[in-house]
Assembly symmetry: D2
Homo-oligomer: 479 residues x 4
């Protein structure tokens, strides 16, 4: 057994040595001709590509630890900084420059060289996805701190490459390549695409599917935005992504432009995990609005999302649990009357009322009872408004979709009951969806207010729902 372990250890030892070697080869080739560098860099790329997942962690750790910065050098320059400062601007700028150079990790050179390869940018985006996966698999507080530095270093570079000027807007239609359409279909996570007929509809009349692609990976839809062109702001996803049936034949081949007054963004997807933190979705929405206005300069006046509310039911169950565990600060979730009313529509049970309610919420069985649907509409809409409007994370909306649209300058415009009655929709948000509406002339100010003062612009409907909470609640939320 010992021998075997030793064998493994020595194998691992060799592998680590090889890793260091492959990286050194690129870094030490820096001053020689581009041919040499390119060859060495390609070697490294294929070396990494063939590594197994667990060894990739090893590789990335070595990269972070052994090819980061020279701490001594930094210490030395830091200590001479003060005296340098006193010797005039030239000296000061010079030492700052040296300090800046010394703080650039050695692997940054590597990343730049990889970026020079064909397909290199895509490779780096994928590496960053690997790093982010490793970080989240190790859990907060437990991950190797070098990974964070690596990730930041990569994000820095990637965000330069993904400047909007280098990103291309492309409309996807049935005339687009099968390859592209298959990817659109595979990536669609919000409202999964059932089959090719469904897909054809989503790129057909009364629909617009736009993507951003990047030169370094021209066949890859980096962000995807699905839009429906309608005569009013949709309050249900099923009206947009309908089952294809016999009534399907009635869908016109051409659009009656006089009926198109509204653009409803019903799905937006970022496909590259490695682009986390590089905000392209916002730009995509803006570009699409511009395209649509150019296409329909007269009639098209309303812009809104129809968005899911991921996390609402989870949050609601947590609220119920707190109550069940007698958390004293917890205000009540349902009023006594509501509870009574709900219980009268449930089979007799020994459970606590909240336990019983929790159960029907968790198995979606409430949704098949007309009575329960009617009773629950009031409290669930109210609670959902609370979740969206009042719950915060670092001062901003806790719900990430809400945060995205509010930051872009949208208004929280309408909560829609029975808007997504698919099992998926019931399980994530009790079937509720929300419209974030974009009033083009206000987005700038709204965005500013939200980002600088954490102010959420809500419509009358939303404000009314919030009003149902006792003053102290709202007061608390503003602390």
């Amino acid at each position: 057994q010992g021998a075997e372990t030793q064998g493994l250890d020595s194998k691992m030892f060799e592998l680590k040595d090889r890793m260091r070697q492959v990286v050194s080869d690129v870094i030490s080739a820096q001053d020689s001709s581009s041919n040499v560098i390119e060859a060495k860099t390609k070697q490294l790329v294929s070396f990494y590509t063939e590594l197994e997942t667990e060894n990739r962690l090893e590789f990335l750790s070595i990269l972070g630890e052994d090819f980061g910065v020279n701490h001594k050098n930094i210490l030395h320059l830091s200590q001479s900084f003060k005296s340098a400062q006193e010797r005039g601007q030239n000296v000061l700028l010079n030492i700052e420059d040296r300090l800046r150079q010394s703080l650039i990790p050695k692997y940054q050179v590597l990343f730049k060289q990889i970026g020079h390869l064909e397909g290199g940018v895509k490779f780096l985006v994928d590496i960053r996805a690997d790093i982010l996966n490793l970080i989240s698999s190790q859990g907060p507080g437990h991950y190797n701190p070098h990974l964070r530095t690596l990730s930041n270093s990569l994000k820095e570079l990637i965000s330069v490459w993904f400047s909007v000027g280098l990103v291309h807007l492309q409309r996807v239609t049935w005339q687009s390549s099968c390859d592209m359409l298959q990817k659109i279909s595979d990536y669609e996570a919000v409202h999964p695409i059932r089959n090719w007929a469904d897909l054809k509809r989503r790129v057909g009349p009364y629909r617009r599917c736009f993507v951003f692609t990047h030169n370094s990976m021209p066949l890859e839809p980096v962000v995807v935005l699905h839009t429906a062109l309608t005569s009013d702001i949709s309050d249900s996803i099923q009206s947009i992504v309908r089952e294809t049936g016999s009534d399907n034949k009635t869908i016109a081949d051409t659009e009656d432009t006089s009926k198109i007054t509204t653009a409803v963004f019903y799905s937006i997807t970022s496909t590259q995990k490695g682009l986390q933190g590089v905000d392209l979705g916002n730009y995509l929405i803006k570009r699409v609005v511009r395209e649509l206005l150019a296409e329909y300069p007269r009639n098209l006046t309303k812009f809104s999302s129809l968005s899911p509310i991921p996390g609402f039911r989870d949050w609601l169950i947590t609220e119920i649990n707190k109550h069940l565990h007698h958390n004293p600060c917890q205000e009540e979730v349902f009023t006594e009357e509501e509870i009574k009313s709900i219980m009268s529509n449930l089979p007799l049970t020994d459970q606590l009322p909240l336990e019983a309610i929790k159960k029907v919420l968790l198995d979606n069985s409430w949704a098949v009872s007309e009575a329960l649907r009617t009773i629950l509409e009031g409290p669930l809409m109210r609670l959902c408004a609370k979740y969206l409007y009042i719950e915060k994370h670092r001062g901003y909306a806790l719900n990430p979709v809400a945060h995205f649209h509010l930051r872009n300058g949208a208004v929280m415009w309408r909560l829609n009951w029975k808007a997504d009655v698919s099992p998926r929709g019931l399980s994530s948000s009790c079937g509720i969806m929300v419209n974030y509406r974009y009033f083009l002339s206000d987005t700038e100010q709204n965005s500013k207010n939200y980002m600088e003062r954490q102010h959420i612009e809500g419509s009358a409907q939303v404000r009314d729902l919030i009003q149902q909470f006792r003053p102290p609640i709202e007061h608390k939320s503003q602390l």
Copy 2:
């Protein structure tokens, strides 16, 4: 008069205030929505575009001085660095990260935002050209040191954007756009294009014109490489860029591929001053070699440049001058016999022989005398070899064209007498041109030898020419 100056002063004062304001507007918009940032950034771009040249210097100085780094902050972090280091890796990485952030000039944010605009990258390339022009107009040692930092900061960003993966190879033919061909014509500085018939020939049969374009400026040829396909390594530019006359009609419309064995790179031009230091020419040559090999996989086996030798005559005159001024270390330029022989072919004069020779070299009159041409061939070829092979700058070839090709791994292969007999060719290099030849299997090693050991690989011809100098000369050059 005082009032007027005061008026000017107050106007300048206002303008400077406005400059600061415009920059602040972008930087302070950082946290708000992208709409706001974009609007402010566009404002800044058009503000700068409309500034007069002298005010641009002012603007760039303000940018460098007032929107660089916070020195105090850096000092503070520097001083806490040592103690941080002792508190473990996490703390160390953290303070390094903060120090790194603090060393990023504020204007870097600005540049990134500009890069996001359509046409933004081109704008930054142009700004860098402005900065480099300012630096060289102020002269070494006298320019504002902030300009250098600005330029480096921009180069950093630009070199990421101009990763080879984002740059496109394009062949230019008579089917290319007039816009592109006009630019090719305008940018051609090495062997100016006389008219559209000349241009048509340079993109026609037996010629290949390739350019790199970049997504951010798709209509702009960033680097241009002209290649002639021949049956042997050309020894004269006139055989490639001939006068179009009646014999012109004999140029075939189609290529006889069996006659094509050699690719002669006879002109390479970088068109964007703002890309100084971002090496694309080397990549372009490599890509073109690959393209040509794909087109002629069998016969095409020889690759060489036919290059000008800018600076040779200037250097030669300087050598003569040193001698005239009795610089003691100066070895002799021409042998006594040579001088005698030359003088016997010049009109009688009171001048010192070297003065008289200098004169005919400067006015190119030697080139119209067959006798002088014959006599001078020996010494000029020898001296030219010395200039190219022995004269150095920081250990590398002084001549920039030589340095470029040697760094790419070429061999200094053949000096060609009467290779460019145009006035331009005589004035810059006494009509001599040089072939740097690329032996594909050796370029990697040659490049390494040159970059690491400053070794220049020369052909027998070159080495023979050099041998004519006394040993001590060569010895000295190796110090």
Copy 3:
């Protein structure tokens, strides 16, 4: 009742009047401006498009009868022809010209005008398909003779438009438009495409799918040719169009070019009935051979089809029926030994042996019995060879696929047992398929021999199979 009929009659009467009017409108507009003509022509196109199928017949009959030629005029010119001939060449050419003009049906003008419209050529191709459908639905000898003239007139025009110079070769891959790929899938009748994974394989590595498109209908694949790149001439369609299963993963993403020596054309489809008689398939094969040779100039040396044998089983059943009905001239289908052998593997029955054999051939049940498969291989292969090689229609091969390839210059190279074991394959040709092989240097001569002398070039295998028939048989076939 009478009134109702009268109502219908008068309605029909009105409709016919309207038809005549619509056509007259175009023809009488001939001399006026193109605007007028275009407007009238568009009117006619939409008028026809909206007609019900039965009324289209009416319309086409009216077109043929009322807008054909002026018979009196022709008679008149015919009668003056003789005397004209005697008055010299000029007069002769003149009257010939007038006769020629008078023989052009009026509707030819109409067709040309339609051809000028956008989408007009496609419309005419569709009209011709309508006419051909009408002719075949009315049956030979019973159709309106004007329809044949109409069809010929259209074919004349269409064949000019579909000159090969105006037809475009396009390779279809997974990067082609979904629209195109869906059509490829829908049109594939030879070996139906099961799903999108199957489709993806047929345009993926080791496969080439080429189509001809025409400018007048750029989104329509007019002819489709599927080719497999293999290491030998395939003897089974299932090896090419395999079920996609777990072993599917082993299909390489890239092609190992060293393994590719053979191109197997395994499906060719003409999609437009209206192009009947306009031979594009032959051109497509030739163009594809050229493309493939350009792609694989060294290794690719073998070209062959793997073709279905539609009609073989039907023919075989007819042969059996003739025997059953004691047709005296009918030679025997199976030998006595064969019949004995087959019967011993069938359940006992009262039926005549040939009836019993016919039954298992018709329900494909023979194919599930290993014994029967073994026994039947000999006779079925022999009979199939007879069907392909000996059965004729107007001197040429009766089987249309055979005729197509033989006319193109192919050799009847190999009959393959168990080559298509799908129900479809069994029902049409008892699972047998055939390779028509193209020896590039011989196709010209083969084609000539076949077209001029009805000679079929067969391989040794085919000739051996044929030899099994008694001399008199072959003798007869050669009469």
Copy 4:
């Protein structure tokens, strides 16, 4: 000498034999495989291409005479026509079909085969140009009548290929290929292009240059239309095609769309002589109007040509000559007062006044004298109106440009004095140009009126000019 002639004769004899052979080869290959036909057809094409001009006439004569129709066959069918007619519709249609077939010249088969080749359509267009040149070089009444039949046969085919659906509209800009722009420049005969700067302007802002291309010759602009976008209907070509000078810099890079209310077609050119009689110019104008309306849906409301009046001065000189030769029917050209007034501004002379006037008209010297210009404006404008409006050829406007636009439905809108003061403009039309204006809603009716009733729609200005002629004149013109 006799021997030499004999030698030539026998050589010509051989050549003619060879011609017949080459044509027979194609025609007799009709029934064999397409490979054979294609090879033979290519042979014929290169044979013809290499013929000298005089031999081409021989070739075309042989083609017409020996490969036309079978006159006996036609005679035979003609004679059986009458009896056939009595034997019912089927027989009638059948014999008509046979007659129709027999009237198709054998060379028609040849032309179709050529059309199948790549570049074949272009070759046929060029052959037709050869034929038309031969016809006009031999003069009316003297040319070989077979050439006319050949030309008609070709025109028939070519007009099918050039159906508008197969022709592509393309806008030419500075981004178009140099090849295309060079051709545009070379073909411009109406207002010759002076240099590349001039060319750049004609495809730049406030200008639109559109061409039709055809698939069979994609690099060839078949028809070219130059349009100026202006704020009013231009009355002078110099305002559109100005000398490029220092004021050139004031031309904006971008268009102020609010100033664009008018599209002035100032040059239209058909580049292919072989397309004579195939009307594409009319279609091009219509398509361009549609494009422009799509680009400027609101402001652009006026459409007009600014057209030259080729032939006006020639016609005027002929009128003067008739008078000088005392043609009794000839009405006077100038009034007595006009003559007096003109003569007082000419140097004293012995010549007859009309002779003297004729002289200054012929050498354009009148145009440099302000006085003469003033005096002549009245009579020349009046005479020009007469030339355009009253002079007819077969009932239609004699002037071909007038005929073209009137047929398209334009109004003869305004004659412009001093509209083209270039030597070319003075020599062809005494500097006068004319606007044919297109009122979009009236073109259909105008065209009909002109084509059916020879009615020319003229503006008030034109009618006023015509009124100056004595009633009898106008009366006569209306007969």
